[in-house]
Symmetry: C2
Subunit: 338 residues, 2 copies
């Protein structure tokens, strides 16, 4: 599983993930075995490259959402395990293609697959994993679940193109930023949670509740992620700081700092993010400007807003350990910011 | 439709495509409208880039196979039109990713999308089209058809990775070459034909017959394509000659010429294809070696072999105009070589 959760430390945000990890532990064991199996191929490069990502210690939050959502809805079959594996493969495929598109060098502190095996292999193995994901969905046999995940696949790609178009454009509004993260992140969180209800044919209201929970959780997750990219906390987690800055990504901390800034400050943002003329000390200056204008704190504030909606989305479900664990995931996502 | 077929010229291989084009003409009109519709998006870059490929005058052979196969099986519904559109989107997505992987500059005589909009957009719009393809398949609601096409998606990507690994390796055997084209080309031809039977729940023997027909037709098609890449005929069609040579692709004409060649000739092949040290006149010398060893003629001979199997695969079906048109497609694929 790769996630060590210090349950005795209430200040550690990871503790909030503990109940979920524990509840789905047996099912996640099955998901992990399926993932290794379906990433296999006689074409050696495929398992090598896929394993590089699979072993890299992601939290596997998305498949855990699928498992817990299905269980909260009283699901008794096996389909949720395959759907959870599909969700993780869709995510892995997206990461592979993202790293090519962003020309990233590091992912979770390790060299990206594209640096080790090249862009070409990363594109193609991503395609392979996406194909395997759809095969698993078909094996489950739920057209409802298939529709939700196929739709998410198209929306995610659309969001990535949107991000590419918005990249390096300081005129990006908060709404435009939201549209991007809604597509590139919230869509898969939303689909991951929704298929849990879809696979056990729960009433429309429950399916819609989980869809909305996943969407709002995903928005909160990405907002915190985008704040962490400019935070010292990130460095503590072994991740590099300022990746978005160097890639010219216009995230909410930047949008807010730019709008609230002086003319001189706006010139700074245009030089660094639009023309990518980044000099020594620019990242530190960017972070200082964000602190001056409270744009990191307000980004977390926006995340808290979506987190509240996610919690309310779950209220229609009767109390259960799964519901409580899914509530805690919201705290985990936001708590990472501290 | 974009295909002008001079029916009165029996020597023109395109005439052999005439009956198929005519039979599926109304349905292809619907396919073309769906393709334009589903390539639409509020993210401007997507329709721009997708239209570039869609308008580039491909023959749309694969969706025509789906339409004709369904009609030959007596299908009376609408699903075949959506499945045919899905097949074409899968193909278009593959082309977009292929051009990135191969670093191609031209496709059907036009600059590739990656040259106009960049590799990043090509990868992401390919992902979007694949997502749209799966959405359409889900709309048809046939799990049988979904399984066939999802499987093809994974196999195609696997084949592309295999080709990447085999690239620039002169030790490639004919069997290894066949495994690559079976995955990267024959799998989609096969799926395109097979879903025609699957969507109307025809007996297993008919579905298997169409699967095998598509597979063998696809092998013949790719063999001829690989021979044409070294042929003057290619130049007449407005395509460039020697693309595979410059990209270090080990296709059958090369495999045969290398095996049949002298030590000096093998040194030539290693220099040009393995180390990509290509000088003025090398392509002409490569073609001369192929002619000397009959490797182009024998590649067409192998194509004729698979073409015969494809024809026999159709024999179990009662005579009909659709069957006859599908038989003619075999002649068309092989006839392109002359």
């Amino acid at each position: 599983m790769g996630v060590v959760v210090p349950l005795d430390d209430a200040r550690d945000p990871a503790a909030k993930l503990g109940p979920l990890v524990e509840l789905v532990s047996a099912d996640m064991g099955r998901v992990n075995r399926i993932i290794l199996d379906k990433a296999g191929s006689n074409v050696e490069l495929i398992p090598q490259l896929a394993r590089h990502l699979i072993d890299s210690g992601g939290k596997r939050l998305r498949p855990m959402l699928t498992l817990a959502a299905a269980k909260m809805c009283g699901y008794a079959g096996d389909g949720h395990v395959l759907l959870a594996s599909s969700v993780e493969f869709m995510h892995t495929a997206t990461l592979l293609h993202d790293d090519v598109v962003d020309e990233s060098a590091l992912r979770r502190g390790k060299p990206t697959a594209r640096l080790v095996w090249g862009n070409q292999a990363s594109v193609l193995v991503g395609d392979f994993l996406l194909g395997q994901a759809f095969k698993m969905m078909v094996d489950v046999g739920s057209l409802k679940a298939l529709r939700i995940l196929a739709n998410a696949a198209a929306v995610i790609a659309e969001g990535e193109v949107m991000q590419l178009s918005a990249s390096k454009n300081m005129a990006t509004t908060e709404d435009e930023y939201l549209a991007v993260i809604e597509a590139k992140t919230a869509a898969l969180f939303s689909a991951a949670a929704e298929v849990g209800a879809a696979v056990c044919d729960r009433p429309q209201a429950e399916q819609a509740g989980l869809r909305s929970y996943g969407r709002n959780l995903g928005l909160a997750f990405q907002l915190v992620d985008d704040a962490l990219d400019y935070s010292g906390e990130q460095a503590r987690l072994g991740k590099s700081v300022g990746d978005d800055f160097r890639e010219g990504k216009i995230t909410l901390p930047v949008v807010l700092a730019y709008r609230r800034g002086s003319e001189d400050e706006r010139t700074f943002w245009k030089r660094t993010l639009e023309t990518a003329a980044i000099a020594e000390g620019d990242l530190e200056h960017a972070i200082a400007l964000m602190q001056k204008h409270g744009s990191l704190a307000d980004t977390i504030g926006r995340a808290r807003h979506y987190g509240k909606i996610a919690r309310d989305d779950l209220e229609i479900f009767p109390d259960s350990r799964h519901k409580s664990a899914l509530m805690d995931v919201v705290e985990f996502c936001i708590g990472r910011a501290y």
